[in-house]
Amino acid sequence: MSGAVGPAPAPLRAARALRRGTAAAAALMAHIAGWAYVAGALFITFDIVARSFLGFSSQATVEVTGYLLAGGIAWSLAHTLFRRAHIRVDVFVSRLPVRIRAPLHLFSLALLTAMSILFAWAAWELVDESALFQAHDNSALHIEMVWPQGIWAVGISAFVVACLVLMLEATLVLFCGRGAALDGLLGSRTLEDETEEALEAVAMAHEGDKR
């Protein structure tokens, strides 16, 4: 990282290791979410085919795929954060000197962390209320709402953990006077490794093409 001067102190190295571990777990959750969308597409397609040609329908596509979406969003939030893909407007910030820019990075993350805690609290309150009501959906499967909502709340909670882990590292980075390193941790997607990925996808398309 560009801001690094000399070897990083131990607490910072520990925070960095913690962040890498959390990011790996978050990536796993996001992959599960992504495959859930693939499964959702297959489920809906199966329902269309069954309805049109086989004369039956699952009677639960609307609900189940709705839960897939909710869970899918929640379980990918943390990974999206580690990939610096959550959207910020940093037109001005990126032009400011490190001295000002670095604390602003931290401020943005702090506000996001606060918001994520509020969201997670609200999600668990909802699960709690559904448990009180012993609420079910109106689909043929009569699913207990605490399950899809609980899975959703777990995803948002993972996002809170991700925010806190990043906060810890970012604070240490700032404390160690390596503010410039925050660009690599929290800066938005203009950075090289982000764009590489889109080109990687295009490269994947060319694999096997004899050119």
């Binding site: 309805r51 004369g55 039956f56 329908s57 009677q59 639960a60 596509t61 609307v62 209320e129 009180l132 009501f133 609420a135 079910h136 959906d137 109106n138 689909s139 043929a140 009569h142 709402m145």
Partner: protein, 333 residues
């Protein structure tokens, strides 16, 4: 009713799904908002809005009222039954062949339902119907048995049970997509209120409409219990009287709108006063005695046991105690 002068009472209410519905313009706005303001000399001020304006799906109304977002909320019971299963029992498919029965059943169940609802901090103050829920099809049919094998868009468990028992294939599609689903033949038939079908311009995409009510889409007005109990007794009495009037007007509208919806759908311009008349008149399918008997049988053998299985044994007891004397069908013989 009237109200002596005093501190103003500001009430926020979220009632019908859409602002264009007659249940909203003719009753909620006319009585709940305007008449109550006028009679209380401006002391009672009701701010009305609809589910659509508040971005609500309709199944969260109990939670909305409970958490104090509004003082009064209304929603259809089938939609709310996910949170409070006993509410589904008021409006099972095939339970009430005419609106008078539906009204008696609704009035009988309010105190029982309130035992469940008050645990959650909510009280049901009035129940009311939407126009009868009937079948619209894009191809001709003359009796219920013709529906065998057809794809029918339904909502809620008791309608699914009912149409499955008829040998039809229930399909779940969101309401806004039903129009194009009927247009393109994704489904053959769909069930909705006579007037709701007219309002959603279903006559453009269907040809035959049954005149047999399968259910009533009974809905209820609920109040936040803590707020209700805190009210000045005079105000509470005033509001009770207002809600009674709202309820009566809704039942009268439900009856008028049921027939009006059919008349509008089949292009009888002279009788069509509440909804708008169909440009392409549909054919009315008048129910036969055999259809009514079959509906009765399905209700007894399939729909009722199905609901009690989902809702629990206590619902069976409640049903036999309060609803069976009116419907004439007992659970478990």
């Amino acid at each position: 009713p009237s109200l002596p002068p005093g501190p103003p009472v500001r009430i926020s209410a979220v009632t019908q799904p859409l602002p264009t519905q007659p249940q909203y313009t003719r009753v909620d706005q006319a009585i709940l908002r305007d008449a109550s303001a006028q009679r209380s000399n401006g002391r009672v001020q009701v701010t009305l809005s609809t589910h659509a304006e508040r971005n609500l799906a309709g199944n969260e109304i109990v939670r909305l009222v409970r958490s104090g977002q509004v003082e009064i909320g209304a929603g259809t019971l089938t939609t709310l039954s996910g949170d409070v299963p006993i509410l589904d029992g008021v409006d099972l498919a095939g339970l009430a062949p005419d609106i008078a029965d539906a009204k008696r059943i609704a009035e009988a169940i309010i105190p029982v339902a309130n035992r469940d609802l008050e645990r959650f901090g909510v009280r049901l103050v009035a129940l009311y119907p939407f126009p009868a829920q009937v079948v619209f099809c894009r191809t001709p049919f003359t009796s219920l048995s013709d529906l065998r094998g057809r794809r029918i868009r339904t909502f809620g468990n008791s309608l699914v049970d009912y149409f499955t028992a008829l040998g039809a294939q229930p399909v779940s599609i969101g309401f806004p997509e039903v129009y194009s689903a009927l247009e393109r033949g994704v489904v053959d038939c769909a069930i909705t209120g006579t007037g709701s079908g007219a309002a959603a311009r279903w006559p453009e995409v269907t040809t035959h409409v049954s005149a047999m009510p399968v259910s009533w889409a009974v809905a209820g007005y609920m109040v936040n219990l803590a707020w209700w109990n805190r009210l000045d007794p005079q105000v509470r009495t005033f509001l009770e009287a207002t809600m009674k009037e709202v309820s009566d007007a809704q039942w009268a509208l439900g009856e008028a709108a049921t027939r009006d919806g059919i008349d509008c759908n089949i292009g009888r311009a002279a009788e069509c006063r509440i909804h708008s008349v169909a440009a392409r008149p549909m054919t009315e399918v008048v129910p036969t005695d055999a259809d009514r008997a079959e509906t009765r049988r399905i209700f007894r053998e399939v729909v009722l046991p199905g609901w009690i299985r989902r809702c629990g044994a206590r619902c069976g007891e409640v049903y036999n105690e309060t609803i069976a004397p009116i419907s004439g069908v007992r659970f478990g013989g």
